[in-house]
């Protein structure tokens, strides 16, 4: 078990490195000198040279990368090119908004999608199954940024039920929650469909397994068979899907944060890319990658905890 954990964490470190290397080279391949961007077009060549030296911009890319890694390990992700504040601080004040958005988005999708899938699987061919089927496909097919725009137009502009932009007043929890509803709805909607379909498919498969017939033959209550037996097995592939889904949600969050002007990490990365604000981009991607890897690791551990066969093979 400990072995497995160490192995996974080691792999995670390698993945982070690979992602950063890829990002680093991409940022240096696109045109635009970050020193000119930071200092303005009228900066003297001396100032640019001084800045470049301070930021190690004159070194080869690989050396720059090693500098960055070395600092990152010590918790220093560099400074914002414009405000000169530490990247960690900039990310720190924004990450909460993104985490709240992603978790709420996935949370409501799980709370609605899993029971819907279960219900559809328990009563295959009935109206609830058909409606779930049609709506799932519809929800999956519409991109989350369109949902965002429509939700914004309908609920904020037209009906005026919910606020349109921002993340709410700091310290005012109910205001913050009311600002969270629309973007979370928008990014979670497709996942309701995904999860409902996934749970339905694996539930249908499991409900046909001989051990479910055994449970019936022993006279267990239908509710116990569905929730305690079938779902217990059928949820395992869904957990993997949810874990990987967090990766997709990070990119959905970028759109939602732009459309709803939420001050989250996604919007921050988007702005930083347009501004060639390299340290912010690097830091943002590092945090996003790390978050994703941790979620996937957590989902794998959850499966191991739920499935003794997986546990035995660790």
């Amino acid at each position: 078990m400990l072995n497995y954990l160490l192995k996974r964490l080691g792999l995670a470190a390698l993945v982070v490195m690979a992602v950063l290397l890829l990002l680093f080279s991409m940022l240096h391949m696109i045109p635009g000198n970050p020193a000119i961007l930071a200092l303005g077009t009228r900066a003297t060549p001396e100032a640019i040279a001084a800045y470049s030296e301070r930021m190690h911009l004159d070194e080869p890319v690989l050396t720059q990368f090693i500098f960055f890694l070395g600092n990152a390990v010590q918790g220093d992700l560099g400074n914002d090119v414009f405000s000169n504040r530490p990247v960690t601080a900039v990310i720190g004040e924004r990450i909460g908004f993104t985490l709240a958005l992603i978790c709420t988005g996935m949370g409501w999708a799980v709370l609605l999608g899993v029971p819907l899938g279960c219900l559809a699987a328990v009563r295959p061919g009935t109206w609830i199954d058909r409606i779930t089927g049609v709506f799932s496909v519809g929800m999956i097919a519409v991109p989350s940024f369109l949902v965002s725009i429509w939700a914004l137009l309908l609920f904020s502009l037209h009906l005026r039920w919910l606020p349109a932009i921002g993340a709410g007043e700091p310290g005012d929890l109910s205001d913050q929650l009311s600002h969270l509803i629309l973007p979370a709805f928008a990014i979670g909607l497709g996942w309701v469909g995904y999860l409902a379909r996934m749970v339905r498919a694996s539930m249908l498969e499991v409900m046909g397994e001989p051990y479910i017939r055994s449970a019936r033959a022993f006279g267990l209550k239908p509710r116990r068979i569905v929730l305690g037996y079938a779902l217990r097995v059928a949820i395992l592939p869904t957990i993997t899907l949810i874990g990987m889904g967090f990766g997709g949600l990070i990119s959905s969050a970028v759109f939602a944060e732009i459309i709803f002007s939420r001050p989250g990490v996604g919007k921050m990365i988007f702005d930083a890319v347009s501004d060639r604000n390299f340290p912010i981009v690097q830091g943002g991607v590092l945090v996003a990658t790390g978050f994703y890897i941790l979620v996937v690791l957590f989902s794998d551990l959850l499966i191991a905890w739920l499935d003794p066969r997986v546990r035995a093979s660790l």
């Binding site: 033959a217 022993f218 267990l220 003794p308």
Partner: protein, 688 residues
């Protein structure tokens, strides 16, 4: 309904709605189940025997529709009960033992939880439920049951799982226990143990048992009463002795005569029931067996046969009563009623003096158990297990050699290694004198024309998207059949395996088990091989069909001089087709010799356990309950020191634990690996 009837099925008629139309799966099924007795329902696949079982429980598939009839249990008609009332009976008064313990127990819950769930209707504390579970596991023979109760199903071996399955079904002390093919998924030695266990439980708990099986031996050994089903009808019922010694329905008679375990004379030709089960969407008005009956009369296909009672049961046949009755029917048991396949018995073709076609000597196959890094960390110097250990074996031209062993004996690994599908750790494999072990695939490929494989799962090993024509010519295409007309070849091969040419356009899912097996044979034959390695050639086939395949294999051998290496666990079948038998246990050959001799006078105690382990289809030859050898095949990781069989051998002595016995010859062609063989050795000659 008399007083001693626990369950009475009367006129049960049931349809399945399918896209081919209504399949009339059960038609007018009637029989009583008597209190405290074991009733066996026997029939081939498609007979509806399992459907009867699931009707009793009310757990039929969604497309099933009960058209008529009643199932009376303790004064109530089970077919009219509400789902709630039926659920109250299931698991409490009627319980079930399932066919495959590998799939019928939920893998993610420990036994303690699964068993206390069954007791949910009882007002017991969790602790009392756990105690009850431990007690029942102990009763069915699970050691250390107070700790093993927390195990998950995958932590148990196959035999232990089935024991646990029986414990789960007996936990509530049901009046009626239904068992659906309870030993089909188990090895021979396990089967014998389960039969003993269930008979013992019947004595202790006075439970009535209904067991469904296609295995005549199991039925004869376990049951008091028998119901014979064919194509959705009950054709005959009666007490076990009457059914096995005085069968009155031609189908019962034929079924018994086809069982290889009952056929005393060893010839290569086995009896078969020609034809297939009729199409049940449009069953004939007359007798359902008329299309395959050896005593069919013109009236049989139009006139419903009469139900003729006798002391302990009924039979449904024109021969027994009415204007068509034949007083000479049934003939005495020794007179065969089923024709053996056309053609003379095949004379043995083996040239004993010839150079062996396949010659395996000292072959070893080892599997890695852990990675090299972990092995070093844990200080394991030898992180391997021996799946095949020092095996020597040869197959002469025209000879059939059977490799027999239980699951985990390494027989399949050996077969794969010979065909260069598995790497060996040492030894020599010669084919026609050429050393072929570890040959590169590019060099080995031409040899694959001479060595063909028949796979175990006939349908699963055929691509579902290819027609039979494409499937049987596939080997030709792979090995470059330049200038050959594939259509002609397909027809030639279909004729060879006696598959009607119309079948060439079909797809695997449209074939019956026997037909799919013929396609497998045709594929193996496509390149005119000299050796065919057949992995369980009759597994999953009905008794009446398995004879057809074995006869076909024998004919092909006679015509083409083929050699067979047959890998199987089925001893009764092997006795009829093999010239020589090699018995494997834990990767080692423990005995090898001429088939008849090995059967008649086994030298190794394991061989005797296997031979005795097959339940005899004769209720007069029941074994005492303690006859089965104990325990299970140990894991390769825990290979016993000394003789491999020492942990289960009833005759083990101190010396057996010291060193592995070497192979010794009793006769020039009969050798064994036992220090204290059951047969006296004339001269002790050690072989290398």
């Amino acid at each position: 309904m008399t007083d001693d009837t626990l369950l009475n099925i009367d006129g049960l008629t049931l349809d399945f709605r399918t896209n081919r139309g209504r399949v009339k799966a059960l038609r007018d099924i009637s029989f009583p189940v008597r209190k405290g007795r074991i009733l066996g329902i026997v029939g081939e696949s498609g007979s509806g025997k399992s459907t009867v079982l699931w009707s009793i429980l009310g757990l039929l598939a969604g497309n099933a529709e009960v058209m008529a009839g009643r199932i009376d249990f303790e004064g109530r008609d089970l077919l009219k009960l509400t789902p709630e009332a039926l659920r109250a009976i299931r698991g409490e008064q009627i319980s079930v033992v399932f066919q495959d313990p590998m799939t019928s127990q939920i893998p993610v819950l420990p036994y303690a939880r699964q068993m206390s769930d069954i007791l949910y209707r009882r007002t017991m504390s969790d602790n009392e439920k756990r105690k009850a579970a431990v007690e029942m596991l102990r009763r069915v023979g699970i050691p250390d049951s107070d700790s093993r109760v927390d195990a998950y199903p995958h932590e148990f071996s196959g035999g232990m799982r089935q024991r646990a399955g029986i414990a789960m079904s007996m936990l509530t002390g049901p009046n009626l226990l239904l068992a659906d093919e309870p030993t089909t998924a188990l090895d021979v030695t396990m089967e014998a143990q389960m039969i003993g266990l269930m008979r013992g439980l019947r004595e202790d708990f006075e439970t009535t048992i209904v067991v469904v099986s296609h295995n005549l031996g199991l039925i004869a050994e376990m049951c008091d009463d028998v119901v014979v089903m064919y194509a959705g009808e009950v054709v005959e019922t009666g007490e076990v002795h009457d059914i096995f010694h005085n069968a009155r329905h031609p189908y019962t008679r034929a079924l018994l005569e086809c069982d290889p375990a009952r056929i005393a004379d060893v010839s290569r030709k086995l009896p078969v029931i020609p034809g297939d089960i009729p199409d049940l969407t449009r069953p004939l008005p007359g007798c359902i067996f008329a299309t395959r009956c050896q005593r069919v009369m013109p009236e049989c296909s139009s006139l419903a046969p009469p139900l003729v009672p006798r002391g302990t049961g009924v039979a449904r046949c024109h021969l027994l009563d009415g204007p068509l009755a034949d007083p000479a029917w049934p003939p005495p048991p020794e007179v065969p009623t089923v024709a053996r396949d056309a053609g003379e018995p095949v004379p043995p073709q083996v040239r004993r003096t010839a150079e062996p076609l396949l010659d395996v000597s000292d072959l070893n196959v080892r599997f890695r158990t852990m990675g090299p890094v972990r092995a070093r960390i844990r200080g394991v110097s030898d992180p391997f297990v021996d799946a095949v250990l020092d095996v020597s074996l040869d197959v002469k031209p025209g000879e059939t050699v059977a490799l027999v062993g239980e699951s985990g004996s390494g027989k399949t690994t050996l077969g794969r290694t010979i065909l260069n599908l598995q790497q060996a750790a040492g030894g020599v494999v010669r084919f026609e004198g050429k050393d072929i072990l570890g040959m590169k695939e590019s060099r080995f490929k031409p040899l694959r024309r001479d060595m063909a494989m028949m796979f175990q799962d006939p349908v699963g090993s055929l691509s579902p998207r290819k027609s039979v024509r494409a499937l049987i010519t596939e080997p030709l295409v792979i090995h470059g059949a330049e200038g050959r007309n594939l259509d002609t070849e397909a027809e030639r091969l279909a004729d060879m395996v006696r598959l009607p040419r119309g079948f060439l356009a079909r797809y695997p899912h449209e074939l019956s088990g026997g037909q799919a097996r013929r396609v497998g044979v045709a594929r193996a034959l496509a390149l005119n091989p000299r050796l065919i390695v057949a992995d369980e050639p009759t597994a999953g086939l009905d008794v009446s069909v398995q004879g057809e395949i074995l006869n076909l294999m024998a004919d092909l051998q006679a015509e083409h001089g083929l050699s067979y290496l047959i890998i199987t666990h089925n001893l009764p079948v092997v006795r009829h087709i093999a010239d020589r038998i090699a018995i494997m246990y834990l990767g080692r050959i423990v005995e090898e010799g001429p088939a008849a001799e090995v059967f008649a006078a086994p030298a190794h105690p394991y061989t005797r356990a296997l031979v005795d382990g097959v339940p005899q289809p004769d209720p007069d030859r029941r074994r005492p309950p303690a006859a089965a050898i104990e325990g299970e095949v140990p894991s390769l990781l825990r290979r016993p020191t000394g003789c491999d069989f020492v942990s289960r051998c009833p005759l083990a002595r101190e010396e057996c634990r010291m060193a592995k016995p070497a192979h010794r010859n009793i006769a020039p062609d009969h050798r064994h690996a036992c220090l204290f063989p059951l047969r006296k050795t004339p001269e002790l000659t050690e072989t290398a």
